[in-house]
Symmetry: C2
């Protein structure tokens, strides 16, 4: 057994005080500059979830973060995927039309990819001054990693199995985020069937730590100092938390989303393809239950685009039935306190457990 | 956040030195008296997995354990389930006949319940002198719990969600085993759809600890001192390990089973109904893959009985394709060392992480 002495590694690497990373939650305007900067100012690492952002939005957001903090922060993208190919969305759109009508929306239209040019997003990140570039759903092209490396940007890749962690190490990333099955949002799984990547955080982290030589960040189900302390003794160099920061006042999550997280129980989440076409964990609602296992689900990211207007309108109307409610499995432990206070509590609580 | 100060609670309660529990693995003769006694003699709590044992076998095994140790140990049963009702097993038997032929077995015969009378099993436990009675898959009848309570037997129930933990507390059990989704063998889920009970250990344990007033034992994915230390900081009063003890020389697991565990990786397990009719986690093999999601799977426990001769013969022949290979998600961390040494290592490793 490796005795963990890795906890300080990450802080040195990233130039941060506490190895606490606010997870890059894409979509829904959650990772506001205020949230990112508050986490970084508190000594952690804030992250902009920029997957769906246009290059100019990234530039703008990063500039605003820069105004609010001079500490390191990260920007996250989804690794580009092969195009989904030609599919007929008509049956899915017919299904969604019912919900559109219910919310008073015009009928849904054929979906297109929601992603701006990846290369141009990377351009924006290169210009942004972000200390770290994190990514999920795969490994970006070598040229992209090389370009960021040349700018001394720290590269953080997401793995859900030991095999994926080794692939990331081979691609010469600097840090591995080991995403356990408890995690909210998209499963990062890219080199395996998604079911093979449903490994619990407590089982995954020590196996990844033993398999690679680079620092490992634990993610999935971490909500308080107990989870942070567990990450440390499991051999991780840091902890990444998404759901825990989602309910902070600085988070841009819709009020109904925050309320749903605050009221959640451990047995309320599902892993679903219904929202984006790719497996992701969130609170069960009408959308996840009524679209469950349907053959007419569109491939990623077309399902995302097809359901996007509905989810957006539901969020605006405060209707949790049709909203995006990504959540980890320990949402019941969430707190509605400012991000800086949360970072401080996480550090103090975990220190008391030494 | 509750600051865990619970780690010593369990030892006092059970009269053991270290809050390390060898999980009660039923079937396959794994929990030999030698294994159980070795764990208890080392200061942990050994457990006899007696679910499929006849009362006289329980008595005999318990007597042998008593000869080998005067320390506390536990006996485990499955809570009785409603009978499966009338089903036609012919299509499943036809499917299995192919494998029977391949292994040189006579054709499979219609399955019956594999369980002896629960009441008589309990009689045997009452007479056995076991310090603790642990159970899973539900809550035994109140009269049974009352009877054991009167004999000062410590009652340990298995929960996979906060809701189940609360039900166990209401039933006045003494200790809750919180079984995370990483765990090998049968999912203990009894009050929820099984998918709702697939909560990772790191997320489950602190939520259960916060929800009940009785000691909580963490289980699922714990294999070394890192996992034990994680259980402690998550607020548990102890750690239960199955897969970790399976590869000990004292374990009665078939050699081919031990070899499969030693060669396992994190992405190799599946949760399957193929072997028993109830969801359980094990290494994927021909049986789990070829019977996956078939509509002809029999209800629990008839599927268990139907596949039992095949699995038994495969184990005897050393053929992992058709064996029972229950395994947690961190089998890659297994060690083939004597049980007493494993207990000592678990304690020392976790102490170093304080």
């Amino acid at each position: 057994m490796t005795v963990p002495n890795a906890w300080r590694q990450l802080s040195v690497w990233l130039g941060i005080k506490h190895p606490i990373i606010q997870a890059p939650m894409a979509g829904g305007g959650i990772t506001t500059p205020e949230l990112v900067a508050a986490v970084s100012n508190a000594g952690g690492l804030g992250s902009i979830g920029a997957a769906y952002m246009k290059p100019e939005e990234i530039v703008q957001l990063a500039r605003r973060v820069r105004e609010l903090t001079d500490r390191p922060y990260a920007i996250n993208l989804f690794a580009p995927q092969p195009p989904p190919g030609d599919v007929d969305p008509s049956r899915m759109l017919a299904l969604l039309a019912r919900y559109h009508q219910e919310l008073g929306l015009p009928p849904p239209t054929p979906p297109a990819s929601p992603f701006p040019s990846f290369e141009e997003q990377v351009d924006a990140i290169v210009e942004s001054g972000a200390r770290a570039f994190s990514f999920t759903l795969g490994i970006p092209p070598d040229a992209v990693l090389e370009r960021l490396r040349a700018r001394r940007v720290v590269l953080m890749g997401t793995a859900t199995t030991v095999r994926e962690a080794k692939l990331l190490e081979e691609a010469r990333v600097d840090i591995i985020v080991a995403q356990g099955s408890e995690a909210g949002g998209h499963r990062g799984t890219f080199a395996e069937p998604f079911e093979a990547g449903m490994v619990g955080t407590l089982a995954l982290v020590p196996q990844v730590v033993d398999a690679v030589r680079i620092p490992v960040v634990a993610s999935g189900g971490i909500m308080d100092g107990r989870g942070v302390a567990a990450a440390r003794v499991l051999g991780a160099s840091g902890a990444q938390l998404g759901t825990a920061f989602l309910t902070c006042p600085e988070s841009g999550a819709a009020p109904a989303y925050k309320a749903a997280i605050r009221a959640a129980r451990d047995d309320m989440t599902v892993v679903t393809r219904a929202l984006s076409g790719r497996p992701a964990r969130g609170l069960a609602n009408t959308l996840t239950e009524e679209l469950k296992d349907l053959e007419v689900l569109l491939p990623y990211p077309l399902q995302h685009s097809a359901t996007s207007p509905l989810r957006g309108a539901a969020a605006a109307q405060g209707d949790p039935r049709f909203m995006t409610l990504w959540s980890g499995q320990a949402a019941a432990l969430s707190r509605a306190i400012p991000a800086a206070e949360l970072v401080r509590e996480l550090v103090e609580e975990s220190e008391r457990l030494r």
